[in-house]
């Protein structure tokens, strides 16, 4: 069935590009459709996961919502398309989705050879290992000969091979299609170790039937900057997605939240004024309404709000802000100024 999807997508690339290349302008397509087609994961708590009412929630989902708020003025106008790691790039290349917001690592190969553009980073991550406590392992360097569960088609698969080669250790890769299957394999004892981005490990850990029996090892073996991706050769759309993300980070820096933005709007601070009204010509250059940035913050919130709600202190994951704090607070989150 996955095969059918891939074949269909490959055929779509070869045939339907005829129409796609004529209307390469994603913004007009989105406006015409009345919704943004957003590629998300098949279910990863904190990043993109449907809640008990079937509504998609998460840090990655908030990027989709922000783009919808900026382009259509309504964060609800998103169509979520769950994709496995293997399917995601083909789906974007063939125009099945407008944005890929699915914990995707920004790498050189992906940036230059897939016909894609990375619009920024919404989570700085690194690959780690989760083991069962009964194994008695304290460090990743003790993992020689272990069976490792991995999700297929990820940078994780490559980093893992590199790490074990570098430390002259052997491993048995057990490769699954979705993170659900990977967790099942780990729980059933098919493998000793589950490897993935650290944030995902915490998310997958709470999916285990006995989370207290598993532990995450201290080693982080790679850099994993995760962020939204768009198709190449559509600079207008690239700019919109990029600046929707920047607007969320800038809003946090300016102290604008979904609850106080209406009050602050009346204040005389020129930076805030520029933010909410976006000075005529800029919005026009972006192809958006005057109040696009205001709509993002009003409807979705700033980056800090999104972080706390989905993965941080107000969520079951309870991940520390760490390097994902603002630059002014010792983190990496730094957005270019909006002027």
């Amino acid at each position: 069935m996955k095969m059918i999807g891939l074949v269909a997508a490959a055929t779509a690339i070869s045939v339907s590009f005829a129409s796609a290349s004529i209307s390469a302008d994603t913004l007009s397509t989105v406006k015409k459709n009345g919704f943004v087609k957003c590629g998300v994961s098949t279910g990863l708590p904190g990043f993109s996961n449907p809640d008990d009412k079937g509504k998609w929630q998460g840090l990655d989902v908030d990027v989709c919502r922000a783009v919808a708020a900026a382009t259509l003025g309504d964060e609800k106008k998103v169509k979520y398309i769950p994709l496995t790691a293997k399917e995601r790039f083909t789906a974007l290349q063939s125009g099945e989705i407008d944005i890929l917001s699915r914990n995707t690592t920004w790498t050189l190969t992906r940036d230059v050879s897939l016909g894609l553009n990375f619009a920024g980073v919404n989570y700085y991550d690194g690959q780690g290992f989760m083991v069962s406590k009964s194994l008695g392992v304290k460090s990743a360097k003790e993992l020689d000969g272990a069976a490792v569960c991995i999700q297929s088609g990820t940078t994780t698969e490559l980093n893992l091979a590199d790490y074990f080669r570098q430390h002259k250790m052997k491993y048995t890769p057990v490769v699954f299609d979705t993170s659900d299957q990977t967790v099942k394999g780990f729980e059933a004892g098919r493998c000793d170790v589950l490897t993935s981005d650290q944030s995902q490990l915490y998310a997958l850990k709470i999916k285990l039937s006995k989370p207290q029996n598993a532990m995450v090892l201290p080693e982080i073996i790679s850099k994993e900057p995760l962020g939204p991706v768009v198709k190449q050769a559509d600079d207008k759309w690239f700019n919109i997605v990029k600046w929707s993300l920047f607007a969320m980070v800038n809003a946090e820096e300016l102290g604008l939240t979904s609850s106080n933005i209406d009050a602050k709007k009346k204040a005389k601070n020129p930076e805030v004024k520029r933010f909410v009204e976006s000075d005529g010509p800029i919005a026009k250059q972006l192809g958006l309404n005057q109040d696009w940035a205001y709509q993002i913050v009003k409807q979705v919130g700033n980056y800090g709000e999104s972080f706390d709600r989905n993965v941080g202190k107000n969520s079951p994951l309870n991940i520390d802000r760490g390097v994902n704090a603002l630059w002014s607070k010792g983190g990496f989150m730094y957005a270019p100024p909006m002027r």
């Binding site: 069935m1 996955k2 095969m3 891939l6 074949v7 997508a9 490959a10 690339i13 070869s14 045939v15 590009f17 005829a18 796609a20 290349s21 790691a85 293997k86 790039f89 083909t90 290349q93 190969t109 992906r110 230059v112 050879s113 897939l114 016909g115 194994l135 993992l143 020689d144 000969g145 272990a146 069976a147 297929s152 088609g153 990820t154 698969e157 490559l158 893992l160 091979a161 590199d162 080669r165 491993y171 048995t172 890769p173 057990v174 490769v175 699954f176 299609d177 299957q181 099942k184 394999g185 059933a188 004892g189 098919r190 000793d192 198709k231 190449q232 050769a233």
Partner: protein
């Protein structure tokens, strides 16, 4: 009218009224149209791939793959190329398909014959088997065997042990593997000689039966030679075979031969599912043979087993082979469901991981499709040849 007659006679019909020429023209137009559409699609794809900055071509096959694969029939590690991952995946697909075809055929024939048994219980059990496994989607069956059944096995440290040389746990079946040393060549040679001897014995026995009517127990004699001769040579050449026994070291067993649970689950599911269809094909084949044939054979004093083997099945094969071919093709194509449980077949390794790491969807997918097409055509060619051989020779 006289004009027309005259034209027909001389072959001087106007172009449009000559059916032969007209059909030739239509063929030519169709050919050009098909070719043109193909060319437009090709051009369009090239243009679009280029304008989107997507890398094209087959150079990626030489690049280092950098990821591991759990099972490979040829030497493979992360330093090998993407081209190598293609071969690894292909061989794994062929392995599971060949084993699946082999076991499904045996099981299918047994169940099919059991379905027609005069024993009420046996035929009902066969019927229940067929109806259950034929009517549940294969993917669910694969999940069932992998996630429900095989998962009940114990972990590596609590493995089930078979006299200290073979082990069974949730990570797979661990068997001792033979280490070949010199002198083992003699044993292989003896095996070849045994096979040649069997062919001669079979011919001789047939000739003797034709002239004298006496039968010779060919099967048992062949079996004795096949096992006995290499074994004697093995003892004479100094018992040159050693076994590497799997040992629990660190996390897992090491050494020996490992059969991964992904392969077992996929093979069990494919075999059981396809066998249900084959059983029905065998049943319909046998039922298509006139009951008179059985009665005639019995009247000649041939026992029921021999009747089935020498009279019924050979005739039924004519009916069985064409649909059986379809089942073999289905099995080969269904093996691509491997990706659901992580068995490293062509679709999982090449159309999955390799495609994702390189992003060259069109190249990878066309190569994958070409493989399945080629495999299917080869099987179908072979089965058609076999069918012709089995066809009833009328004199």
């Amino acid at each position: 009218m006289p004009d027309n007659k005259h034209n027909l006679a001389t072959g001087n019909v106007s172009f449009w009224n000559d059916p032969a020429k007209r059909s030739l023209l239509f063929q030519a137009i169709l050919f050009i149209a098909v070719f043109a559409v193909g060319y437009i699609i090709y051009q369009n794809t090239q243009h679009n791939l280029e304008s989107r900055g997507i890398t094209t071509g087959f150079e990626f096959l030489d690049a280092e793959a950098g990821f591991g694969i759990i099972q490979s029939l040829i030497p493979y590690d992360e330093t090998h190329s993407y081209g190598r991952t293609f071969v690894v995946g292909l061989l794994n697909t062929i392995l599971v398909s060949a084993l699946g075809v082999f076991f499904a055929t045996i099981l299918g024939f047994l169940i099919g014959i059991a379905r027609l048994s005069h024993n009420w219980l046996i035929s009902r059990i066969a019927a229940v088997y067929i109806e259950i496994f034929r009517n549940i989607p294969l993917l669910l069956q694969i999940f069932f065997w992998y996630f429900a059944v095989l998962r009940l096995l114990p972990g590596p440290r609590q493995s089930l042990e078979f006299s200290g040389i073979a082990f069974l746990n949730v990570r797979g079946i661990y068997l001792p593997s033979p280490i070949l040393s010199e002198g083992f060549g003699w044993v292989l040679a003896a095996l070849v000689i045994a096979v040649i001897a069997i062919v001669f014995i079979k011919r001789w026995a047939k000739k003797r039966q034709n002239t004298t009517g006496e039968q010779f127990p060919v099967f048992w004699a062949s079996l004795a030679i096949l096992i006995g001769l290499p074994f004697i040579v093995f003892l004479i050449s100094g018992a040159s075979l050693q076994w590497e026994i799997p040992e629990l070291k660190g996390f897992n067993f090491r050494g020996g031969l490992t059969i991964i649970p992904e392969l077992s689950a996929l093979l069990i599911a494919l075999t059981i599912y396809t066998a249900a269809f084959i059983a029905e094909i065998v049943r319909s084949g046998i039922e298509s043979i006139n009951k008179g044939q059985t009665e005639a054979a019995h009247a000649l004093g041939i026992n029921p087993g021999k009747t089935l083997q020498l009279v019924i099945i050979p005739q039924a094969m004519r009916v069985i082979i064409p649909p059986l071919t379809s089942q073999y093709l289905n099995l080969i194509k269904n093996s691509s469901l491997a990706t659901a449980i992580g068995y490293p077949d062509l679709v999982s390794v090449f159309a999955g991981t390799t495609l994702n790491q390189t992003g060259q969807a069109i190249e990878v997918i066309s190569m994958t499709m070409a493989v399945y097409l080629t495999l299917s055509l080869l099987v179908s060619l072979f089965m058609n040849w076999y069918n012709k051989r089995m066809a009833l020779v009328e004199r």
